[in-house]
């Protein structure tokens, strides 16, 4: 099997595992959609004066696209890796000729497929039911999503190395996830010049959220690449990938 065929082969089986696992299907797929519907409905008539008076949902729907990607990449990968490591599945797989890159390609590919489905679904629901206008500058949106996927998959692998065993996985994963979501402007734009903004700016999610919002921003012009934000996401991607690869372990920890 050549490299591409092997990667596709792995993604196929990862997909089967993913959709059949109620925990992953709920927490990383249904969850973002639930958030979308609840808050978009509650704030259907709200507007954001800070962003030129656009409707709340014009801002919120791209935010949930970013949230969904983080959930499908970061949450899903870190949890899956931690659980499989603890169960000895990674060690078992390492004893076969499957090259490590192909195993990662399968898991990352799976996360990307889920992210794409979520992005399309969330945008479509936003446009059909919540009056969100279609994004301009599709290339900018695709670049943002691709960089975001790289960043949050790498973060997923890196954080998985901090998880001691399967039972601790949700705690560790969400300890990173929720504070980040709440400070990063997913639900409401981060107030400009605030302390919160300065803290949030250190982490990748606020930048990723802005770079996904840029193509949806009705007041923006040009190609809508949020270059500064994209750069920070890319730096985080590289740093997380280095940590993830360096610290990656196949063996369950002994208890």
């Amino acid at each position: 099997m050549n490299a591409a065929a092997l990667a596709v082969h792995q993604v196929r089986y990862e997909q089967k595992s993913y959709w059949r696992n109620p925990a992953s299907a709920f927490f990383s797929f249904a969850f973002p959609i639930l958030f979308l519907v609840i808050f978009a409905t509650l704030n259907a008539s709200a507007h954001l004066p800070d962003l030129g008076g656009i409707s709340y949902n014009q801002y919120y729907v791209p935010g949930i696209v970013a949230f969904g990607l983080m959930s499908a990449c970061y949450t899903n990968l870190s949890t899956t890796i931690a659980i499989r490591r603890d169960a000895g599945i990674l060690k078992r797989l390492r004893s076969t000729p499957l090259p490590p890159w192909a195993m990662f390609a399968g898991m990352v590919g799976n996360s990307v497929v889920v992210s794409v489905i979520l992005a399309i679904l969330v945008s479509a629901v936003g446009m059909l039911f919540y009056g969100v206008s279609a994004p301009h500058g599709i290339p900018a949106l695709l670049v943002a999503l691709a960089l975001g996927a790289a960043c949050f998959c790498a973060l997923g692998v890196a954080v998985s190395t901090l998880i001691p065993n399967a039972d601790a996985a949700p705690a560790v994963v969400n300890f990173v996830f929720f504070p980040l979501v709440f400070i990063s402007g997913t639900f409401y734009p981060v107030p400009k010049g605030s302390v919160l903004e300065r803290i949030a700016n250190v982490f990748p999610l606020v930048h990723f959220t802005r770079s996904v919002f840029a193509p949806f921003d009705p007041h923006a012009t040009g190609a809508r690449f949020a270059s500064h934000d994209l750069l920070i996401v890319a730096v985080w991607a590289v740093a997380a990938a280095i940590v993830g690869v360096r610290r990656f372990r196949w063996e369950p920890s002994r208890r």
Binding site: Y13, R20, K91, R94, S95, T96, E251
Partner: protein, 339 residues
């Protein structure tokens, strides 16, 4: 199969050492382990829990780094990254702990892994070999522990390995499942697969292995074919029988002792003769019985069982090595007599 260099052993291990170091202290899990495994052989590492079986096996499999010593598996060094990549294609591994993706079905996992090898076995054939045909479409999650273990073995086999490592393949199996696993191993041997397994069951080593190495505390204390392990075949034969009615021990034609472990109802009546010359001794004894018209009730002629040898080697029963014949039905034996 049919590799070049069949004259060299499939596995050669020399002075292998491994020490675990962690906060709790250090454990010398392998203290100069040496053995060879020939092509086509079934080799068993037999030893109690914590003896170092898994450590030794995982070093051979390449998942654990050794501290010192030389290891060659199919002529390759599992401690070298390049060699290990080549080895993984030719070796099947069944780890001590079963671990398979829970949400895939039996045939899906096998089909997925089959693609990792250049000449895999057809998955229907593998499923049949391990007796999971009925469960081919069942999700791994829904299988019993024993069925998951068999799937694990199937995953070890699917790449058509020249060499198969099985770490405690039957622990937790019921007797009939163990017989099934033994039949599988015999079948693989006929196909030319070299097999290295670990077990703490004596009967399993006896039934499967061409050669056994007994490992205790990180050291191999004996190795050889199960029938002659630790001079088992050369050990004294023990002849036992019940004293015929009206015969005292002194009346016997040969010196005999009373069996110390006799069951209650045979106390002072069961006698034994240990000898290296079993044929003439039996001749003399039975000749005397025929001439005098005596019955030799409960007559047994026995050698130390593999279990006796094992227990004396591992020292786990140093004060109570069961003598030959002690494994006869002994419902009336007082509890505690053998401990």
């Amino acid at each position: 199969m049919g590799q070049t260099g069949n004259s060299s052993p499939a596995i050669r291990v020399e002075s292998l050492r491994k020490t675990y170091r962690n906060r709790a202290g250090t454990v010398e899990a392998a203290r100069g382990v040496s053995f060879d495994v020939a092509h086509g052989e079934v080799f068993a590492l037999l030893g109690p829990n914590g003896a170092g079986k898994t450590t030794t096996l995982e070093i051979l499999e390449g998942s654990l780094a050794r501290d010192s010593g030389t290891v060659a598996v199919l002529g390759l060094d599992p401690g070298s990254r390049a060699d290990l990549n080549r080895l993984r294609k030719r070796v099947g591994i069944v780890l001590q702990e079963t671990a398979v993706e829970p949400y895939l079905t039996v045939s899906e996992v096998l089909r997925r892994n089959a693609a990792y090898y250049s000449n895999p076995r057809p998955i229907e054939e593998v499923i049949e070999l391990v007796g999971l045909t009925e469960k081919a479409k069942a999700r791994v999650k829904t299988l019993s522990g024993g069925q998951q273990r068999r799937l694990d073995v199937a995953l070890g086999l699917v790449g058509r390995p020249e060499l198969l490592f099985l770490d405690e393949p039957t622990t937790g199996f019921d007797p009939s499942a163990r017989r099934g696993a033994w039949a599988l191993v015999h079948g693989l041997t006929r196909l030319g697969t070299t097999i290295v397994l670990t077990t703490h069951y004596m009967d399993e080593a006896q039934a499967l292995a061409d050669r056994v190495a007994v490992i205790v505390g990180g050291e191999i204390v004996a190795q050889g074919p199960p029938d002659s392990l630790a001079g088992r075949d050369r050990a004294a034969t023990r002849i036992r029988f019940r004293l015929p009615a009206g015969v005292r021990r002194e009346d016997l034609p040969l010196p005999a002792t009373t069996a110390a472990d006799a069951p209650e109802d045979l106390r002072d009546q069961l006698v034994e003769i240990d000898t290296d010359d079993d044929v003439p001794v039996l001749h003399e004894l039975t000749g005397w019985a025929l001439r005098g018209g005596h019955d030799l009730d409960a007559l047994t002629v026995d050698r130390p069982s593999l279990e006796d040898v094992y227990l004396s080697l591992t020292g786990s029963a140093a004060t109570a090595i069961p003598p030959p014949g002690s494994r006869q039905p002994a419902a009336t034996q007082p509890s505690g007599a053998a401990s």
